[in-house]
Amino acid sequence: MSVLPEQALQLAPGYRLQWEEAQGMFVLLYPEGLIELNQSSAEILQVCDGTNKLADIVQALETKFETTGLEGDIINFLNIAIENGWLDQSA
């Protein structure tokens, strides 16, 4: 399964994104599991709020970091996140 442009993205049920002060990083938490995220992965997941679709996510991050051309990297990450069950897509 890969990212569908017309659907909004959000964390799957049971998943939680959390800043960890002791580690100085965001982690993704789920039943009996923990993924330590690099900065770009954490930035993408933070805007997957259940209303943003692919284009919104790209725009939000390109605006935040005052850059362009992020779409390819964002799609790659979203595909991995969807494949692993971290994100749900809904119309």
């Binding site: 049971g14 959390q18 002791a22 580690q23 039943p31 009996e32 599991g33």
Partner: protein
């Protein structure tokens, strides 16, 4: 003989074994065989101190386990406190004595997830292995867990007596609405080590089971995640036990003993520290027990010069002790170990058809525990 001198990474995982008391009698229980002699549990205030100090150091995944954690009267209070501290809270339960009111109370306290165990896919076998009539109730509890919106892990420990039910177990998991299924082949510690000859499956049984697991992993993709945990006796290379000793996992036993892995209590002359006497920071950073297998200074050959030593860290030290009598030996699961025959002999011995008849399973209960 301490390991590396560089500052250890902080704990990420805290396993809170709240009690050794359990209404079930599973003969593969990982609790110590002499648990009945370990009776004095630490208090609610002790647990809160442990939870706070561990969280301050960086622990974020928290498992409430046992024994049966529902036996502890302060479970809801501890879940509530842990949730406030920002842990992701997991309850690892048999489901025995769970009811809807407790499921709701735990949800309100902030419990994130429930792992419920079943022993088999049929009532007869489940209740035989559990040593307690529990099958129908467990299924009711599983449905209530889903009704109240928890993610649910269904855990079934696999062994020779139930591995033939693999397909039925997975169909049952689908019916119960499990989000994750953990099919964990028995690891031979504690009671399972004592009952090893009666529990160990044959190579053929394992191959069949793995093929079924793979088939369901494909058909359930995107719906139910299936973890099939291979038995290390059959692997040829050891597991990277605990993700490396004293790097990630911290277990606190019911009596307050702090353990780098939940089997470490059995290691002789190890002198594991107790949370009654020391802070978590002292225990994690300074204690001999937690430093013992950090880094690779402790290693002997064949590990010392092995190119894979940073991958598996020499395997499991508790297994090395159980099978070779010396925890600093290479885990004999590794086929490079000069003592690998202790594993292959066990596999062969278990395959002899006379085993099950001559020696019955020893069930985990206080009466049997007092023999040790």
């Amino acid at each position: 003989m301490a390991g590396s001198t560089k500052a250890p990474s902080p704990p990420r995982w805290l396993l809170a074994e709240l009690t050794y008391a359990c209404p079930l009698q599973c003969p593969y229980c990982s609790n110590p065989v002499d648990y009945a002699n370990i009776s004095e549990e630490i208090s609610t205030e002790d647990w809160k101190r442990v939870l706070k100090q561990s969280r301050d150091m960086g622990a974020v995944q928290l498992g409430f386990s046992g024994g049966e954690p529902l036996v502890r009267k302060d479970l809801v209070e501890l879940v509530d406190y842990s949730h406030e501290l920002g842990y992701y809270t997991n309850l690892i339960t048999s489901g025995y004595n769970m009811d809807e009111a407790k499921i709701v109370a735990l949800k309100e306290a902030g419990l994130d997830h429930i792992q419920i165990s079943l022993q088999a896919s049929s009532k007869e076998l489940n209740d035989f292995i559990a040593g307690t009539e529990s099958f129908e109730h467990k299924k009711v509890v599983a449905k209530l867990i889903k009704k109240h919106g928890y993610p649910m892990v269904l855990c079934v420990v696999l062994h020779r007596q139930n591995i033939h039910q693999m397909k039925d177990i997975l169909d049952m998991a689908i019916e119960l609405g499990a989000d994750f299924v953990e099919l964990a082949n028995t690891q031979y510690y504690g009671w399972a080590h004592h009952n090893r000859d009666q529990l160990m499956p044959t190579q053929e049984q394992l191959q069949t089971a793995e093929a079924i697991a793979n088939e369901y992993q494909d058909t359930q993709k995107g719906k139910m995640k299936i973890y099939y945990v291979v038995p290390d006796y059959f692997e040829g290379r050891p597991k990277a036990c605990m993700n490396g000793w004293g790097t990630t996992f911290l277990t606190i036993a019911p009596d307050g003993l702090a353990l780098p892995c939940h089997s470490a209590r059995q290691l002789p002359n190890f002198d594991c520290p107790n949370v009654r006497d020391h802070s978590i920071s002292e225990i994690w950073n300074e204690s001999t027990a937690f430093n013992y297998f950090r880094g690779d200074d402790w290693m002997k050959e064949p590990c010392k010069s092995c190119p894979e030593k940073d991958k598996d860290f020499g395997g499991c030290h508790c297994q090395a002790f159980l099978l070779t009598g010396d925890a600093t030996n290479t885990d004999p699961v590794c086929d490079l170990s000069p003592l690998h025959h202790t594993v292959t002999d066990a596999i062969e011995k278990a395959a002899e058809p006379s085993q099950t008849v001559e020696q019955p399973l020893l069930f985990r209960n206080s009466k049997n525990s007092k023999q040790f």
